[in-house]
Symmetry: C2
């Protein structure tokens, strides 16, 4: 069992954030001893899941829903699975979009590298896209396709 301060320390979060999460219902079974929160391994695991789901772009209220389903027991397995499947699809598409943005960045980095080395902007533009180095061309095509 841990106090809020210990958990904050472990996760590198301010205590205010943990209290906020609690208030939002992210720790359904959180116990208290004379008013003071007592975090157990269950809550630590919940926090790990919370960090993952936040990284997956989920809103607090959806994370709460998930936590409530967990508290309800096995009858909610299907809902929980559906939520994760939906998130997985969402993330895969987000990652794909980010990779396209990253390709644009790679191209821009190369482009400014050439300019910094004294290349002429007009000449440089003239070689796009056909005269591009292979790796950069791939990034350029990716970044500009849809």
């Amino acid at each position: 069992m841990y106090t809020i301060g210990q958990v904050a320390e472990m996760f590198g979060l301010p205590t205010s954030t943990l209290r906020y999460y609690d208030k939002q219902g992210l720790f359904p079974g959180l116990e208290r001893a004379s008013g003071i929160r007592r975090f157990s391994d269950k809550e630590l695991e919940a926090l790990r899941v919370i960090e993952c789901l936040k990284k997956a772009g989920m809103e607090i209220k959806d994370i709460r829903l998930f936590m409530e389903w967990c508290a309800e027991g096995p009858s909610t397995y299907p809902q929980r699975k559906a939520m994760f499947e939906e998130r997985k699809a969402h993330m895969e598409s987000e990652i794909a979009k980010m990779n396209r943005a990253l390709d644009m960045l790679k191209f821009k980095c190369w482009y400014y590298e050439q300019l910094n080395q004294g290349d002429n902007e007009a000449e440089l533009k003239a070689m796009i896209p056909d005269g591009l180095p292979k790796e950069i061309k791939r990034a350029y095509e990716n970044a500009h396709t849809r």
Copy 2:
């Protein structure tokens, strides 16, 4: 040359967003004819870059800085390159984190799939991590490493 309504149509954005971007200084050289904004190809290109930089997690004020550098000419090539390099590194680390979150989701999807098929929760937990199928084990290890 295009009106704000045409550009909004082309990019699938509300006109209010374009006016907001303009107010935030994202179109430094935007022309007007008797008060009315006249978007040129330059602004369309700027908008494409804006969408990319937003996807790369940049804030409006940093995008404005970039647009101002562009308007200042070649003397700012080094700053622009440095900004893109920093963004590239940032995005690569974000994508890596998202892939770890995705691995956690893959594991959870598999886990609930087993439970939905009637597997017993205690037995299932007992086979983690050693008895996991290869692909799922990889996802599990990734999700739980660091």
